[in-house]
Amino acid sequence: MIVVELRKLFRRPRTWVTIGLLNALPVLVAVLLAWTDLAPRPGEGPAFLSAVLTNGTLYPLAALAIVLPLFLPIAVSVVAGEAVAGEAQGGTLRYLLARPAGRTRLLVAKLIAVVAFVVVTVVVVAGVGYVVGRLLFEVQPTGGTALSGTSLTSQELAVRTLLAIGYVTVSMLGVAAFALFFSTLTDSPLGATLGALAVLIASSLLFTLDAASSFAPYLPTRYWLAFVDLFRDPILWRDVVRGVALQAVYVVVLLGAAWANFTTKDVTS
């Protein structure tokens, strides 16, 4: 069943159209930067973008920072929101459940397909960013400079970039968990997607308010940008660890709720 779900997801043209569109913005930004030689002023724009003109190896990180606040969560919400609700809306959920595999296995298969989408999407964005960065910008053969001013070798930069890709992937799993949970509540994939996005927009808004500071550490988007801390020297693990732990809690609780709801609901469509 897992293979079936994976095949279904990655054979669907719109999956690749989504991934392609996600890469369009970072590529456009890179072309504009290379064309005009005008990087954002320091402190403005996405993380790392002001530094890519002098070191293109940082562009995978800039590309992730460009899509992380909005486009990546939208893509993940669309795919995860459709996982169960899409089958219900299409009238195929009853037939899927008629097989002896059971609801739990179907949910696990859907979950693994969503996780695979998240991993592939983040890796493709970083990979395209790497290629674009090397083609369009200067590349320092010695590696690069950490935010703290110390030198990073090419190997250190590669390891930290891989850690950042892993961290962004974990951050998106929380988004997927919200959308998958909502997907078990409704027969409308759009409703599930918008529900997850509403949570994320509310979280981002509340994070900017001092009045919400008492519960800000528990907002799902609170630690998303902490992957930047992997490029400080010494690495600032504080928010990275908190971010991973927070996403783990959201994933476990929401998937548990999704499982509890899905295994007990009446499926009529």
Binding site: G43, S148, T150, A245
Partner: protein, 344 residues
Amino acid sequence: MLPPLIDALPAADAPTSAVDLRTRALGSAGVAFAGYAQSAGGLDLPVGEQLTDAADLFSDRTTMRAWYRGPADWRVDVVTPTGETGVHADGCGTWTWDWEDAVATWSEPGPLAFPSPSDLLPSALGRRLLSEAAEDELSRLGAERVAGRDALGLRVEPAAEAASVPRVDVWVDRATGLPLRVQVWGDDAAEPAMDTSFLELDLTVPPAEVTAFTVPEGAEVREGQAEQLLQAADRDRRRGPALPSSLAGLDRRVVEGAPRSVGVYGRGVTLLAVGVLPDRAAAGLRAELSRAPGAVVDPLGTRIAAGPLGLMIVDGPDGALLLTGTVTLDALAAAATDLTGRAG
């Protein structure tokens, strides 16, 4: 998830007197540590573009990482979501590294400087605010958990009539005497005007390579210069009035090497700085101050209070003077009268 649980544990108090606790705090300059701290200020300073960095320190949340091996060997990084600015001290001066501009700036200590993020580290700020407090201004508070450690409370209530800060609370590490949290209170009893605290603290000596600094390849190197306003004050050393030995009841401090046209008055938490302003800066600042809510404009000049911090522009016979410090509006008016002979 463990640190919040540790912080929730009740703190153990100790029968240490306020004076002894202050002595221990002042003696903690040799305590090495690595820490993560945040400061939050609620002061909205209408000072235009000349002093945005200093103003941001008092109005924003500043996140800092610090490694401290001793008074002459430390590093403080201000961490932002998109970059960082690090200050490395080595005994002769400081390197300031700004990643986003890729600029390394070497500065040697001067007689006067605007506040920088390293001044907001609880250990540095706590020792500074406690250093000149009189014994009868000190009292003990209870104990609290700060950064997972037992911290003993010490309160300073300035006796000076001009003081706009009614109290400062310093939470001192029970084991080492290191100030862990400093709260500067204004008239608003609900929220401190400035609150800086360690959130994490490790008392092992940081490695020397963490505090050392080597200029990165390709970085621009600059020589540090005093802020424009201090440069202007230095240029104008022949201009401006001879500053009196006391203003608004506060005695003038001796600041070696400071321009003659700049004077600092008071002690401890209650300080007042006076300096000549270049005409162009004075015009911009006066406009900013007069637009601020609660601004008082009268024959003496234009003055405002941003929390416990007062600012005033006075038109003297030789040009504009800037008065600023942790003093009341009445004290600013009295100082202006002392300087110009005019009444409000």
